[in-house]
């Protein structure tokens, strides 16, 4: 029924795997409209997270997620570090003390996480940032759960919305982050942060799809 602490750890591990696999891809996306480091940054951060995980694997989900967030803040750097750090720290705060997450708990955690990113980065939808993947993912999750969809289905719809949001960044002109320096020249390229956000939500859908 619910997402266990082990499931959360599994999600983080799978995220780390996907980010490592897509390291060069993310970097290439960032080379086109940024500074060619997003893949390396995320990979470095999640490798540090993997090292840290065993020390908190038996703790509550909130502690696990806060630890992930703090580790990312102190290892990723760039824009990704504070943003994803905040994402996980806020998700951790929202799940503080919990050993399992009901679908609604996950929705609340994701909401807190996404709001954290928005508060820190001040990006609006359409600014061509990770928000353009995260916000649709949150909305799709909420509406799937409202529709009474089982968790696995809701997660799939959430990941699919993130993917769509990611793709929809292609034509956008960036207004936040490094890509904004390019002005019009940023159009025609997919945002690297939206892409890594999609990978995180895809990992959740994959790893937790057994649950419902």
């Amino acid at each position: 029924m619910a997402i266990s602490g082990d499931d959360v750890v599994g999600w983080i591990r799978r995220s780390a795997e996907l980010l490592a696999e897509n390291r060069d891809y993310l970097t290439q996306l960032d080379a086109a409209i940024g500074d060619a480091d997003h893949g390396a940054n995320m990979d470095r951060g999640f490798r540090a997270v993997l090292q840290k995980l065993p020390t908190v694997a038996d703790k509550d989900i909130g502690t696990v997620l806060k630890t992930v967030g703090m580790t990312l803040v102190s290892t990723v750097g760039g824009a990704g570090g504070p943003l994803y750090g905040t994402f996980f720290m806020q998700a951790g705060t929202a799940t503080s003390g919990k050993d399992a997450l009901e679908p609604e708990d996950w929705a609340k955690a994701l909401e807190a996480a996404v709001n954290g990113v928005i508060n820190r980065g001040k990006a609006s939808p359409g600014d061509k940032t990770m928000v353009d993947a995260l916000l649709p993912a949150l909305e799709a999750l909420r509406s799937a759960l409202n529709d009474g969809a089982p968790l696995a289905e809701a997660l799939r719809r959430s990941a699919a919305a993130a993917e769509q949001g990611m793709k929809d960044t292609i034509p956008l002109v960036a207004r936040k982050g490094r890509a904004s320096y390019l002005g019009e020249r940023s159009a025609g390229h997919q945002d690297p942060g939206a892409t890594s956000s999609h990978l995180l939500l895809r990992a959740a859908a994959e790893v937790w799809s057994g649950q419902d």
Binding site: T27, A31, I33, G34, D35, A36, D37, A40, N41, R44, V73, S74, T75, V76, G77, G78, A79, G80, G81, P82, L83, R120, G121, A174, R175, K176, G177, R178, S180, Y181, L182, G183, R185
Partner: protein, 333 residues
């Protein structure tokens, strides 16, 4: 990729070890988290100045640590803003009781990480001010975007507010010098070739044998326009026009003219560039009272240059001339 490196993942660490071995009289290097700090830090009663940013811009910032300039520098991974824990520890290490100034280049990552660090330092009871440098006229400014990048003026601002701190000015006054420098400085850069990020292993961008990129950033970010390679004098005019058009000052004013190499352009070419930049500035009635020519804020091995014009007043001239003793900038002592 042709670089004098070992494992590309270790470049920053090994370069820091090289700096530590080379300059024990000027600096100490702390690892995990990484920061470079003045050998005699903290200086009691003096405002501490901390800067930092991605590596790959050497000598900025580590090469500017020492008497009369920075108290500490936090190097991130190549082209990646450092993390708040580095900044926090550096801030603690340089706090001499008079507060600490963070000099931050306006990149989303740098600003957010320094913000987090400043919050943590304040929670520790350290008074922290931040000044964000955003002098790059290649970027069209707007309330709704990330705004202009921090580039060449950063070097000048660090020298100037470093001298102000050394003089014993208060945190508020040191920050004021930094803000004044930022308000009075304008820069623009260009590239002939791309840099190659060590752990990426191939050039950040492709560029034709007869092309150049105008308005480039210092991270190999694409610039304003790609165009046919032109003669140096025309290139200089292309950089000077947007700078002059944006200047918050006028004919008759005193300026510092800074011609900066991006890393792969030899000094002989920088002097060819300086010649024309000086001529254009003078032609507009500006008086070039000070200058700086060389590789100070670089983009790895990128070939190209940037030009910075900074309005000077008597106080800034005095601060510029004040003694400085760092690995990369040194005079008067």
């Amino acid at each position: 990729m042709k670089k004098l490196v070992n494992d590309p993942e270790n470049v920053v660490r090994e370069a820091l070890e090289g700096m530590a071995a080379a300059h024990p009289d000027l600096i100490r290097v702390h690892y995990d988290p990484n920061y470079v700090v003045r050998a005699d830090a903290p200086v009691r009663g003096k405002v501490g100045i901390v800067s930092g940013g991605g590596s790959g811009h050497e000598p900025m910032h580590g090469g500017f640590v020492g008497r009369g300039m920075l108290d500490a520098a936090c190097p991130g991974a190549v082209f990646t803003s450092p993390t708040p824990d580095q900044m926090l520890e550096a801030t603690r290490a340089v706090d001499g009781g008079a507060g600490v100034l963070h000099v931050v280049k306006n990149y989303t990552g740098d600003v957010m990480n320094f913000d987090m660090a400043a919050d943590m330092a304040r929670a520790d009871g350290i008074e922290v001010e931040s000044v964000v440098i955003n002098d790059d006229v290649a970027v069209r400014d707007s309330l709704y975007t990330a705004g202009r990048r921090g580039v060449g003026t950063t070097v000048l601002a660090e020298k100037l507010c470093g001298a102000a701190a050394e003089e014993g000015r208060s945190l508020k006054d040191v920050a004021e010098v930094c803000r004044k420098a930022n308000g009075w400085g304008r820069s623009m850069g260009m590239a002939l070739t791309s840099c190659t990020v060590p752990h990426v292993g191939k050039p950040t961008f492709e560029i034709g044998e007869d092309e150049m990129e105008i308005g480039i950033g210092i991270h190999g970010e694409p610039g304003r326009t790609r165009m046919e390679l032109k003669a140096a004098d025309e290139v200089v005019a292309l950089l000077m026009e947007p700078i002059l058009g944006d200047l918050p000052f006028k004919a008759g004013d005193d300026v510092l003219l800074f011609v900066n190499g991006m890393g792969g352009t030899p000094l002989i070419e920088l002097y060819v560039v300086y010649r024309k930049a000086h001529e254009i500035a003078t032609g507009r009635g500006l008086r070039v009272v000070r200058n700086l020519i060389g590789d100070y804020i670089t983009s790895l091995e990128m070939a190209g240059c940037s030009i910075t014009l900074l309005k000077m007043d008597d106080d800034l001239v005095k601060l510029w001339d004040a003694p400085v003793k760092t690995p990369a900038l040194r005079w008067g002592v």
